[in-house]
C-alpha cells in the first residue's frame, strides 16, 4: 500500500478512512462493488463499512457490510458478503483511494470525512 496526502507518508495503521467514499471510476466488473462505502474507524487502521448501491443497474454487492483493516503488506482486508476476508492492494492518496480487486480497479473519492 502506498499512503500519501492528508494522512502523510505514514504507517498505514494511522490512516483514518472514516467517511463516505464515492466511486469515481472503475473498470469492467465494478458494478459488483458499492458505489458508496460508508467507513468508520474503531481502532487505528481498522473499522467497519457499509456498502451502498448508487445506480439501478447495480445488483448484488460483493462488499455489502462488514469490517475493514489495513494490513502491513499494503493491502486492505475487507469482509465480504459471505463473511470471507479478502485482501486487495490499496493506494490511498489524500482523499482518493484506489483498490485493485481481482481484475478490476476501483477508485473512490472521499465525499465527506470525519470532520464533515
Amino acid at each position: 500500500m502506498s499512503v500519501n496526502g492528508a494522512a502523510g507518508d505514514a504507517d498505514s495503521s494511522i490512516v483514518d478512512l472514516t467517511g463516505s467514499w464515492t466511486k469515481s471510476a472503475g473498470t469492467e466488473g465494478e458494478l459488483a462493488y458499492p458505489d458508496v462505502l460508508e467507513m468508520t474507524m474503531l481502532v487505528p487502521g481498522a473499522g467497519r463499512y457499509l456498502g451502498r448501491k448508487g445506480r439501478p443497474e447495480q445488483g448484488f454487492l460483493l462488499w455489502d457490510a462488514g469490517n475493514w483493516r489495513l494490513t502491513a503488506d499494503g493491502k486492505i482486508e475487507i469482509s465480504t458478503a459471505t463473511d470471507a476476508l479478502e485482501s486487495w492492494p490499496v493506494t490511498i492518496s489524500g482523499d482518493e483511494m484506489q483498490i485493485q480487486v481481482a481484475d478490476c480497479v476501483l477508485t473512490y473519492r472521499r465525499t465527506n470525512g470525519p470532520d464533515d
Binding site: 473498470t27 465494478e30 458494478l31 459488483a32 467497519r48 439501478p56 448484488f60 457490510a65 476476508l85
Partner: protein, 768 residues
C-alpha cells in the same frame, strides 16, 4: 395542480455525470466495455403478501357454466343479505374451504401432456396477510425418471397406446399421491421447472345448495430455464410469469393416518380447464433441511443456550434455544446432526490461523457423510475449526464448484473491540467462551448457506441472525443506549421477518444447497413494501386522475398519474413512470374490496436511470386500465378504487410513492350497453387494448369491435349508434370501424394515444 417542467432528458441528467441528489457522480471509465454483472444479480420471483381482502372474496371462479349469480354481497353481513334475498338464499349457500398454514405436497397434471409436475405449495398466514408460493418439478407421467432429453422417446412410446398408459398412470398417481406424501417432499435439482407466485386466494364460495364447495388459488407461474452444464444459475421468465394458473379446489378426505387436509380440483389456464391438481397438507413447517456439524480436533461446536425470555422458543415453552429453534423461527424443520467431534487437522494446514476457503472446502468433501445427495436432501455441512481472533467468526466459504454446500465457524475467533465498542462482556472474548454469541454467529453462516444476505442491505441492521455481528452489538448498544438489552445476553436467536419471508417464499432453486449461486435473487428485485421508504406528500406526491367518469362495464378507463416533487430538495426518481417502464404498478379494488393487479402487457425498460426531480417538477404518464393477464379490471357496477404505486431504488434505498383515484362503474342501462359489455369483456379485446390498438392479428377482437357498430342501439332504422363503452376505445378502434364511422375518426385523430397503450416510443411518461 402541481407545476411541471418541460425539461427533456439530456446527457447531463442521464446516468453518467448526473447529480442524483446523493447518488454518486460517475465520471470515470465506469462500465467501460460491456458491464459484467455477477451471475448472482439475476432477478427471481418471490411471492408477496396478498391483499387481506382477497381471501374473503366471494366471486365464484371459475364458473364456466355461468350458473352462479354475481351478486354484491357484504361478506361480513351474509345473514342480513340472506334475509333480504330469501329467493336466492333458498337456492344458494355460502361455504368455505380450509387451507391451514404449512406445506402442501402439490401435483399438477396438465391435460394432453406426458409430463406432470410435482412440488410444494407453502401457505403462510403468520403475523399478517396470507402469503403463498410454490415450486414445481417436472416428471414423466409414466416413467418416474424422465428428463427433458428423454421426452421424445417417451412421447413415441406413449403415442402407441396413450389410453392404456394413461390408465396405468392414473392408478400409479393415485398411489403416489395418497400414500407417499406425509412429509415435505424433496425433488432433484435438475427437474426444477417453475415457481408459483400466488396472487390471490379465495376460500369462500357462494354455490347452489348441495354443490361442492370450492376454493380458488391463482398464481403467476415463472418458468425456470435450467443452466448449461457446469453452471448453476438458470433464469426465470420475467414478471408476471409465463402464464397465470388457477387451481379450483375442493376438499376430499385425507387417507387415514396421513393427517392434514387434502384438496383436489381443476387446473385452469386462461379460464380454460387444462388439467387436474392435487394438494395434501404435509407439515406445519414450510421447508426442511439437514445440517451436519463436524468439529475439528481442538475445536468446540456451539451448543444450546437457555431460551431468552422474549424468544419464540420461550413462548413455545422450550427451555433452550438452539439451531433447530433458529430455523424454526423461519418456519423450517431443521434436523441437526452433531456428527464427528475430533476431525483430524488436514496435512499442511495450521488449524489455529485463518483458514482458506479451499482448505475448508477440501476438508468438507473429505469428511461429510458419504451419502450426501443434494437431490434427495437439502443438506448443509458446517465445519467448526479453531482459527484465531480476527478471522471473521465464520464464513460461507462454499462458492467453489457446487454452490453453498458448506459453511464454517471459528470457535477461537471472537469479538474484537476493533469491530464494535458494544460487545459488552464478550469484548475480546473467544466465541467458545460466549455461548449465545457463538450460537448466533454459527447460525448466521448456516443461513448464508441458504442464500440469505446481510440485513444491512435489506432494510438495515437489527438484532436478528442475518445482521453482521458488530451491527447487532451496536443496535443493542450499551446498558443505557440502543435497543433494550445488551450484547451478548440479549442477542435474539431468530431471523427477522424479511429473512423469514425469503426463506419461506424464495424459489427452491434459489435457496437449496446446490442451487443458484450465493446472492441470486438479492440484486434488488424484491423488497417488501413495508421495507420501502414511503415518501410523505410534502416530499413527493403521486396524483391520479381518471379521465372519464360514469364508466360503462366493458369500457377501458383512461387515467393520468403525475409524480410531483412537493418538497424543497431534488429527489432521484425513475426517468420514466409509464407502465411499460415497469416502475409503476396498478391495482384495482372493486366495491367489495377485492384487489386485482393490472401489470403491463408490454415491457419497455426505462433507459433514463434515476435522474433527479427538482422541487416543483413533475413526471406524468397515461394508461388505459381495462385488462391484464389477471383479467378485466371492471366487471361489475359500483365504485372502484384505482391504486397506483411507483416503486424504485434511489441511493440504495427502496422507495415507494402511492396515489389513488375512484371511478364509478355504472350498470348497463340499455340492451345495447348490456350486449356491448358481453362483447367487450373478451380476453382478446383486452389484449387488443393492452397492445395499444392496431393489433389486427387479433381477429376475434377486431371482429367484436367491428360488430359493435352493428349492434349498438341507434335508431329503429338501423343506423349505427354509439354504445357508451366505446368511449374508452378512442384512438384504438380497428381501421375498418373508423372508416365506417367518420365522425368518430375525427375525434380519434385529435386524441393523443397514451404511451402505455403502445410500445412505440412516444414522449408521454417522460419528464414534462
Amino acid at each position: 395542480m402541481a407545476r411541471s417542467s418541460n425539461r427533456e432528458p439530456t446527457p447531463r441528467n442521464r446516468k453518467t455525470g448526473v447529480d442524483r441528489g446523493g447518488i454518486p457522480l460517475v465520471t470515470g471509465p465506469i462500465g467501460a466495455g460491456a458491464p459484467v454483472l455477477p451471475a448472482a444479480s439475476a432477478e427471481i420471483p418471490v411471492a408477496e403478501p396478498i391483499d387481506p381482502q382477497q381471501p374473503l372474496g366471494l366471486t365464484p371462479f371459475p364458473d364456466p357454466e355461468g350458473t352462479v349469480p354475481q351478486l354484491p354481497i357484504d361478506p361480513l353481513n351474509i345473514r342480513h343479505w340472506q334475509l333480504e334475498h330469501p329467493e336466492i338464499a333458498e337456492r344458494y349457500s355460502f361455504c368455505s374451504v380450509s387451507l391451514p398454514q404449512g406445506c402442501y405436497a402439490l401435483t399438477v397434471r396438465p391435460n394432453n401432456e406426458l409430463a406432470e409436475y410435482r412440488g410444494t405449495l407453502r401457505v403462510d398466514t403468520e403475523d399478517g396477510p396470507l402469503t403463498a408460493s410454490g415450486d414445481l418439478y417436472r416428471y414423466s407421467r409414466f416413467f418416474g425418471e424422465l428428463t427433458t432429453g428423454e421426452l421424445a422417446t417417451t412421447a413415441t412410446i406413449a403415442r402407441t397406446n396413450f389410453a392404456g398408459l394413461a390408465g396405468i398412470a392414473g392408478l400409479a398417481h393415485q398411489a403416489h399421491s395418497r400414500y407417499r406424501r406425509s412429509t415435505i417432499p424433496i425433488y432433484p435439482i435438475n427437474r426444477y421447472h417453475s415457481y408459483l407466485k400466488v396472487t390471490s386466494v379465495r376460500l369462500w364460495s357462494f354455490v347452489p345448495r348441495g354443490s361442492t364447495c370450492t376454493a380458488a388459488i391463482t398464481a403467476e407461474q415463472y418458468l425456470y430455464t435450467q443452466p448449461p452444464a457446469g453452471s448453476f444459475d438458470g433464469t426465470f421468465s420475467p414478471a408476471p410469469g409465463f402464464r397465470t394458473v388457477t387451481f379450483s379446489l375442493h376438499q376430499t378426505a385425507a387417507p387415514k393416518g396421513l393427517g392434514g387436509p387434502r384438496l383436489e380440483g381443476t387446473l385452469y389456464v386462461g379460464g380454460v380447464d387444462s388439467g387436474t391438481v392435487e394438494m395434501h397438507w404435509v407439515s406445519k413447517y414450510f421447508r426442511k433441511c439437514t445440517i451436519e456439524i463436524d468439529t475439528l480436533t481442538g475445536a468446540v461446536s456451539p451448543q444450546a443456550v437457555p431460551a431468552h425470555a422474549g424468544s419464540r422458543a420461550a413462548a413455545a415453552g422450550l427451555a433452550n434455544e438452539d439451531f433447530r429453534s433458529v430455523f424454526a423461527s423461519a418456519g423450517w424443520d431443521a434436523r441437526i446432526e452433531y456428527d464427528q467431534t475430533a476431525v483430524p487437522v488436514p496435512a499442511g494446514v495450521n488449524a489455529n490461523t485463518c483458514w482458506s476457503s479451499a482448505d475448508l472446502h477440501a476438508l468438507m468433501l473429505n469428511i461429510r457423510k458419504a451419502t450426501t445427495n443434494l437431490d434427495t436432501e437439502w443438506r448443509l455441512h458446517c465445519l467448526v475449526v479453531p482459527a484465531a481472533m480476527g478471522c471473521g467468526r465464520g464464513v460461507m466459504y462454499d462458492t467453489i464448484q457446487v454452490p453453498r454446500e458448506g459453511v464454517a465457524s471459528f470457535c477461537n475467533d471472537g469479538y474484537p473491540t476493533s469491530q464494535s465498542a458494544n460487545f459488552g462482556t464478550a469484548a475480546n472474548q473467544q466465541q467458545r467462551n460466549t455461548p449465545r454469541a457463538f450460537m448466533r454467529s454459527c447460525s448466521h453462516e448456516m443461513i448464508h448457506g441458504f442464500n440469505q444476505i446481510h440485513q444491512e442491505q435489506e432494510g438495515g441492521g437489527d438484532n436478528s441472525i442475518m445482521t453482521t455481528t458488530p451491527s447487532v452489538a451496536d443496535v443493542l448498544g450499551g446498558p443505557a443506549t440502543g435497543e433494550a438489552g445488551v450484547f451478548p445476553d440479549d442477542i435474539r436467536l431468530e431471523v427477522n421477518d424479511h429473512v423469514r419471508h425469503h426463506l419461506i417464499h424464495m424459489p427452491d432453486i434459489a435457496v437449496r444447497p446446490g442451487g443458484m449461486t450465493f446472492g441470486s435473487g438479492h440484486g434488488g428485485g424484491f423488497v417488501p413494501e413495508r421495507d420501502r421508504y414511503h415518501f410523505p406528500i410534502d416530499e413527493l406526491m403521486l396524483t391520479v386522475e381518471v379521465l372519464q367518469q360514469d364508466v360503462a362495464i366493458g369500457e377501458p378507463v383512461r387515467i393520468r398519474y403525475q409524480l410531483t416533487n412537493t418538497g424543497t430538495d431534488s429527489i432521484p426518481v425513475p426517468g420514466d413512470i409509464s407502465m411499460e417502464a415497469a416502475y409503476t404498478r396498478i391495482t384495482v379494488i372493486d366495491p367489495k374490496g377485492r384487489s386485482k393487479e393490472m401489470p403491463s402487457y408490454v415491457i419497455q425498460p426505462d433507459t433514463d436511470g434515476t435522474p433527479t426531480l427538482a422541487p416543483g417538477e413533475s413526471l406524468s404518464a397515461e394508461t388505459r386500465v381495462f385488462w391484464s393477464t389477471q383479467g378485466f379490471a371492471f366487471t361489475g357496477p359500483g365504485t372502484h378504487v384505482i391504486d397506483v404505486k411507483v416503486l424504485w431504488t434511489a441511493d440504495g434505498v427502496p422507495c415507494i410513492v402511492r396515489g389513488q383515484a375512484s371511478v364509478a362503474v355504472s350498470a348497463p342501462i340499455s340492451e345495447a350497453d348490456d350486449q356491448a359489455a358481453n362483447i367487450l369483456l373478451h380476453p382478446q379485446v383486452g389484449q387488443y387494448v393492452a397492445l395499444g390498438g392496431g393489433a389486427t392479428h387479433l381477429t376475434e377482437a377486431v371482429s367484436r369491435l367491428d360488430s359493435l357498430t352493428g349492434t349498438a342501439a341507434g335508431d329503429s332504422n338501423g343506423r349505427k349508434g354509439r354504445v357508451k363503452a366505446l368511449r374508452g376505445f378512442e384512438g384504438l378502434l380497428p381501421p375498418s370501424q373508423i372508416e365506417l364511422d367518420q365522425p368518430r375518426r375525427e375525434r380519434v385523430a385529435s386524441t393523443p394515444k397514451p404511451r402505455a397503450a403502445t410500445k412505440a416510443a412516444t414522449p408521454a411518461g417522460r419528464r414534462r
